[in-house]
């Protein structure tokens, strides 16, 4: 038998980002009684040991149900939440490195110039923020209703000292708006968010992420709040901009059908861990992990035949609380494959399965495949 290959993120010239053993725990407040009884502090284990790498120019999807930690992982990459442990290594784009006076101070972790993001004090991180931006999920909640589009977009320019006069900034904002096809830009610039449709607002969100010329964008469910009929338009725009600017996307989504269309690789998360990772089309069309299988089955399809059949998704119960994560494989209480393989019960309940390679480039964390 060949050696089992446990997943390890690759750090090479093509790697934009490496996330290694990332953990984000949110402490719960102890009640008075718990303090008196000296109960140990409890934690919400939002992200519980996640590793992956993102190649330069790739669309990497993080998928899973709500509460699986995909958004927290994205935020941790941007240092918007404090990480409990683990490391993130990032390769900044060239332009940023040259103009950054602190660059020499950063700890390099590879010969290619990867930087250890966790090791950087916040002050030194600020210039790097230009290079990693985020597109938010809710185009209604993420734009300040009391500011014009110009004010919203130029705030980033002011903070990072781009453009010295107002007219210069106006030019940059106009360009950014034209890029996301909000034309004529001079008209949109002085509108308020409530005067725009959902799709137009999300374009503003994209323009805001792009205005500082980043190279990595974390897009957190950028189309989930929009009508199905205009989602494709926004996605198409994102893909065009990716080509023009050579962007890399981390695409956070719960919609696997969508992920199949736009992403190169996908990681399926469950309760703070990656359970399956690989080429997006292969993972979705031929899933291995029982959880991925259940997710794919549950997706509705525009096929009227389906109204005649009632097929329950092959998954039991509900998502457990991330405070009391089940022992062993965290999916075991809901796993239907476990019912068919009682011989694995001991293993699944006691030992956490590692993420292992079962086909070139395909990784699964499930004891079903580890024994073979």
């Amino acid at each position: 038998m060949s050696e089992v290959q446990v997943y390890k993120p690759v750090l090479d010239k093509q790697t934009k980002l490496v996330v290694n053993g990332l953990k984000v725990y949110f402490p719960l407040r102890k009640s008075f009684v718990e303090v008196l009884m000296r109960k140990p502090r409890l934690y919400v284990r939002a992200v519980d040991g996640v590793s992956f790498d993102v190649k330069d120019g790739e669309v990497f999807a993080l998928a899973g149900e709500s509460g699986c930690g995909k958004t927290t992982t994205g935020k941790a990459v941007l240092k918007l939440v404090e990480t409990t442990s683990g490391s993130t290594y990032y390769l900044p784009s060239r332009g940023i490195m040259e103009s950054n006076p602190y660059y020499a101070l950063y700890k390099k972790v590879s010969e290619y110039g990867h930087i250890d993001l966790q090791g950087i004090p916040d002050k030194l991180f600020k210039p790097l923020r230009r290079d990693i931006q985020m597109i938010w999920q809710d185009p209604y909640g993420s734009l300040n209703p009391r500011r014009t589009i110009f004010e919203i977009l130029s705030e980033a320019l002011e903070i990072h000292g781009v453009g010295s006069t107002k007219s210069e900034r106006e030019d940059i904002v106009a360009k950014a708006l034209e890029e996301v096809k909000l034309t004529p830009a001079s008209e949109f610039m002085y509108r308020y968010p409530h005067m725009l449709s959902g799709g137009q607002r999300q374009r503003v969100g994209i323009a805001r992420a792009l205005i500082l010329k980043p190279s990595l964008i974390v897009a957190d469910e950028p189309v989930s709040m929009l009508d199905v009929s205009i989602r494709a338009e926004i996605l198409q725009l994102m893909m065009e901009l990716k080509k023009i600017h050579g962007l890399t996307y981390i695409f956070i989504t719960h919609d696997l059908a969508l992920a199949r269309y736009i992403s190169n690789r996908i990681a399926i998360m469950y309760l703070g861990k990656i359970v399956e990772l690989g080429d997006a089309r292969r993972v979705i069309e031929n899933p291995y992990h029982p959880y991925t299988k259940a997710l794919v089955e549950a997706i509705p399809e525009p096929n009227p035949e389906r109204r005649h059949v009632i097929k329950e998704p092959s998954i039991k119960g509900e998502v457990p609380s991330p405070i009391n994560v089940p022992t062993g494989c965290r999916f075991h209480p809901r796993c239907v494959a476990l019912d068919q393989h009682p011989e694995l019960e001991e293993l699944c309940k006691k030992k956490e399965p590692p993420l292992i390679e079962i086909e070139p480039g395909r990784y699964v964390a499930c004891w079903l495949y580890t024994k073979k």
Partner: protein
């Protein structure tokens, strides 16, 4: 065929705002038989929720039903007095699962209390009797009966949605309107809720009117489909025909914009432009500014509704001889 359960004819629901009249539902007609399910699809702002609110006469002011008839079980409900409608039709005849059901439950009452209230008000039950009924209903929708004592915050999103469905089923109405019943739910929970609705349809013979912007959700339940655009129904017919042979360019565009799970990856298409302003809708066919097949005629004259196949109706000049 027997009498339809619900027959809507030329319904017009307008909002009289200071900026002008918003024609949210403009001359809509359809019918629904007992045990049948209708899917109502369209983009946000096309008037589908307003249509639903019109049916239970809960259109928020300044909106009101300005014309047309709604015949339910042989009686025109638009002519009823408010009291008569409340007593005899709303919830007893037509009930509704509201959009964003996660937030429609009152956080300071237990779900048992909230379901029992329906029985106390409509049937004059005592609280104890109401709670007994609530337990049976929760069982029906797949929640343990002991949960009557739970507050909404103690339930997961899927369970809250089930509780809201239980509330809509309380008086065993022949028609339940479900307005985007699965938005904000995860796919697994969504599949469970859709299965629950299929079961209710099969076992209780409840007619369901399912409203959604997502045609793949509607396909899971609906026997019949109405596609709404700009306050009008542009295509209407049995779901097998509408899905497999869509006629209206709008329906085609909607179907092509859905990412599929299997098969070849073609470029997704979308509908350019934005939905029409319902205060000043475009003249002629309301879809013409966004339509790839728009002709001169479409800009001037409104297309009539034609039957292109058995029971399959389309309002588009492409199909008019």
């Amino acid at each position: 065929m027997s009498e339809p359960l619900l027959e809507v004819k030329n319904l017009k629901t307008y909002f009289y705002t200071l900026r002008g009249i918003v024609r949210a539902v403009d001359d809509v007609s359809f019918e629904l038989y007992r045990g049948e399910s209708l899917g109502l699809a369209g983009e946000s702002g096309c008037g589908k929720s307003t249509l639903a609110f019109s049916l239970i006469r809960l259109v928020p002011p300044p909106g009101k039903i300005s014309g047309g008839t709604i015949i339910f079980e042989g009686r025109d409900v638009t002519k009823m007095s408010e009291e008569e409608f409340r007593r005899e039709v709303r919830w007893r005849g037509i009930s509704m699962i509201f959009q964003g059901a996660m937030n429609v439950l009152n956080p300071v009452y237990t779900i048992g209390d909230q379901i029992a209230e329906v029985f106390m008000i409509h049937k004059g039950y005592s609280k104890r009797e109401g709670l007994e009924e609530a337990k049976k209903l929760l069982q029906l929708v797949g929640i343990e009966p002991r949960r009557v004592k739970s507050y909404p915050f103690e339930l997961s999103g899927g369970m809250k949605q089930r509780a809201v469905i239980a509330m809509a089923l309380a008086l065993s109405p022949p028609l339940v309107i479900a307005d985007e019943p699965t938005t904000a739910l995860d796919v697994v929970v969504q599949a469970q809720i859709l299965n629950l609705m299929k079961r209710l349809k099969n076992e209780l013979r409840t007619s369901i009117m399912l409203i959604s912007h997502d045609l793949s959700i509607i396909a899971e339940v609906a026997d019949k489909i109405a596609i709404m655009y700009g306050g009008k129904i542009v295509e209407y017919g049995p779901s097998d025909l509408v899905y497999n042979n869509p006629r209206h360019p709008y329906t085609r565009a909607l179907l092509n914009s859905i990412p599929r799970l299997r098969g070849e990856i073609r470029d997704l298409t979308w509908i350019p432009g934005t939905p029409p302003d319902l205060i000043n809708p475009p003249p002629g066919c309301r879809f013409h500014p966004r339509c790839p097949h728009a002709m001169e005629r479409c800009k001037k004259e409104e297309p009539p509704v034609v039957e292109v196949d058995r029971n399959h109706y389309v309002a588009c000049w492409l199909y008019t001889k």
